[in-house]
């Protein structure tokens, strides 16, 4: 992006002063990736902020158009790399809606379990990096210790730590291994005391309060007008959560609260995310009780869902379907659907348009980081440059998702 390098003059308390343009990023530790912000400064005050992105643009939406519906799942992992299971879920829900197929209850509950674990792990990364940006080094180490436990569970269940591709169209990729619920239980029993530990380090900490309270305020009306969703909107007092408002994957059967606050500052968003971690643990506990020990994890939709390996070796039809799914793919009816889930960052929507061919006509991701980042100038203009870091952190952006 080109920017006029000449500076303008601004009125200050002591008279007229020249402003200065500062390039923050694209390689700055607190921008969580490759985000560049052009800051026009009057001393320490931000006069104007222009975010500039696209450094991580990989054309995922274009690539999806060249793949079959099942192949595109691997690309969805790489959009928001802190929430791969959530991306898989959003994409699969959209394609399932397009096809009009139902997923077995057991698979739905396992999906919920995995996605909520993912939410905790994403919030842990957020908390750790946000705290380190604001100078609290030790929280980072604690958060990554617990995140590692979640990644180990993912590795055990899905075979991958991060790019899981576990949720597939019509169900799950694999039957989860025996003993996975014991591992989850061990984690769920350990986690509440660990969250208390983080809170002990931060919530009452005078430096933390000084850096976060009253910083980055946005009113509820402005937040809605700027299309913000997720913890940022809930910290402004709007209880908008897709899991409650437009339930998917049997979320309506779970009992949990949507934490909201009204202060709408960096501190409130921190409190919201901590509360959300506790709510997620509540959902995980319920899901563990609900998951039946036996039952299918894939729906019975010949020609769409790959057949079981056993059947493939014994039944001719299954063999043919298997071959057709992995060579040609399947063709959903023409139409357009939009499916939204609540990602850790906000409303993650997937828009899929089909023209009746085995490859999608268009796949679009409504990336919450991208849209929430739009409000950054509003949060920081007129504030101090030190608050810029707190404000970038509080939106919780993932640049892979911003640029796609």
């Amino acid at each position: 992006m080109t920017v006029q390098s000449e500076t303008s003059t601004v009125e200050t308390a002591t008279g007229k002063a020249k402003t200065m343009v500062l390039n923050m990023g694209p390689q700055h530790p607190s921008t969580h990736g490759v985000l560049r912000i052009l800051l026009e400064l009057d001393g320490e005050n931000v006069v104007k902020a222009i975010p500039d992105m696209g450094y991580l643009h990989t054309g995922i939406e274009k690539s999806c158009e060249d793949k079959t519906y099942s192949q595109a799942i691997t690309l969805t992992d790489r959009i928001d790399y802190l929430n791969p299971l959530g991306n898989n879920l959003a994409y699969c829900l959209a394609v399932e809606k397009l096809l009009g197929i139902e997923v077995p209850k057991r698979a739905q509950y396992i999906r919920v379990l995995m996605v909520e674990l993912q939410r905790v792990s994403s919030h842990l990364v957020w908390l750790g990096t946000h705290a380190i940006d604001l100078g609290a080094m030790s929280v980072f180490l604690y958060c990554f210790r617990e995140r590692e436990e979640i990644l180990k569970i993912f590795e055990f269940v899905t075979g991958q730590r991060m790019m899981t591709s576990y949720i597939r169209i019509g169900g799950l990729a694999l039957e989860p291994p025996t003993g996975y619920l014991q591992r989850v239980e061990k984690f769920v029993n350990m986690m509440p005391s660990r969250i208390d530990e983080y809170e002990e380090l931060l919530t009452g900490n005078r430096i933390w309060i000084g850096r976060t309270k009253g910083v980055g305020y946005i009113s509820a009306d402005d937040a809605i007008a700027l299309s913000m969703t997720g913890p940022v909107l809930r910290a402004a007092g709007v209880p908008y959560d897709n899991r409650k408002v437009f339930p998917y994957s049997s979320y309506e059967e779970f009992d949990f609260d949507v934490p909201t606050r009204t202060d709408s500052d960096v501190f409130a968003r921190y409190m919201i995310r901590v509360a959300e971690m506790r709510e997620s643990l509540k959902i995980i506990r319920q899901a563990m009780k609900k998951i039946p020990p036996e039952g299918p994890v894939r729906t019975d939709a010949p020609g769409i869902v790959p057949p079981e390996r056993e059947k493939m070796k014994t039944e001719m039809e299954a063999l043919i379907y298997h071959f057709k799914i992995f060579t040609e793919g399947f063709s959903p009816p023409p139409g357009e659907v939009f499916a939204a889930v609540e990602s850790p960052r906000g409303e993650l929507g997937v828009f899929v348009a089909s023209d009746g061919s085995p490859k999608p006509l268009r796949v679009h991701f409504r990336a919450p980081s991208f849209i929430n980042l739009q409000a950054l100038p509003k949060l920081i203009e007129g504030k101090l440059i030190a608050d810029v870091i707190a404000c970038i952190g509080t939106i919780d952006i993932v640049l892979g998702e911003v640029d796609r």
């Binding site: 992105m53 696209g54 299309s227 969703t229 437009f246 357009e336 929507g349 023209d355 268009r362 409504r366």
Partner: protein, 162 residues
């Protein structure tokens, strides 16, 4: 919902599509902003959140482009899709930034990747691609691997021989 908009202006809706429980209202191009304002302001509709805006390229069919706005009503827990169809030779439509300020970056993205121009947009620049990029990558006539600087192997071979 549909009756409410029809009652306001019979021309406001050119087509209603119901598919998999989702309602899409196709709006004539010149009425888009009016309908959007109506959807946001009407006390029975109250679509206060613009969730998403995106575009579909149906090349080589005509009208080629479909611009979709996904609206959410937080107080009523409802969703709606507004659709505008644009032809290939005149892909221009009124911007919805005056109605929902959040449309700003979404429309910039559509402009960047599809080359659709939004009149009345305050800051219509490329957002993801570099400023000097040629073409609009999400159009169907844009090759998936991009336009290459290096000529294909066959042409290089023939050039060396002559």
């Amino acid at each position: 919902m549909v009756e409410r908009l029809r009652g306001w202006s019979p021309n406001a809706i050119s087509e209603v599509i119901e598919f998999r429980g989702e309602t899409t209202i196709v709006v004539p191009r010149n009425l888009l902003r009016d309908v959007a304002e109506r959807c946001r302001g009407d006390k029975d509709l109250r679509f206060n959140l613009l969730s998403d805006a995106t575009c579909v390229d149906r090349y080589p069919l005509e009208p080629r482009f479909e611009v979709n706005y996904h609206l959410v009503s937080i107080p009523r827990s409802d969703r709606l899709r507004l659709q505008v169809r644009l032809s290939a030779d005149d892909p221009v439509v009124n911007s919805l930034v005056p109605v929902w300020p959040g449309a700003n970056w979404l429309e910039r993205e559509i402009f960047d990747l599809f080359g659709i121009r939004f009149t009345g947009h305050p800051d219509l620049r490329r957002i993801l691609m570099p400023d000097d990029w040629e073409g609009h990558p999400l159009r169907k006539d844009f090759p998936v691997e991009g336009y290459r600087d290096i000529p294909a192997i066959a042409t290089r071979y023939t050039r060396n021989r002559t």
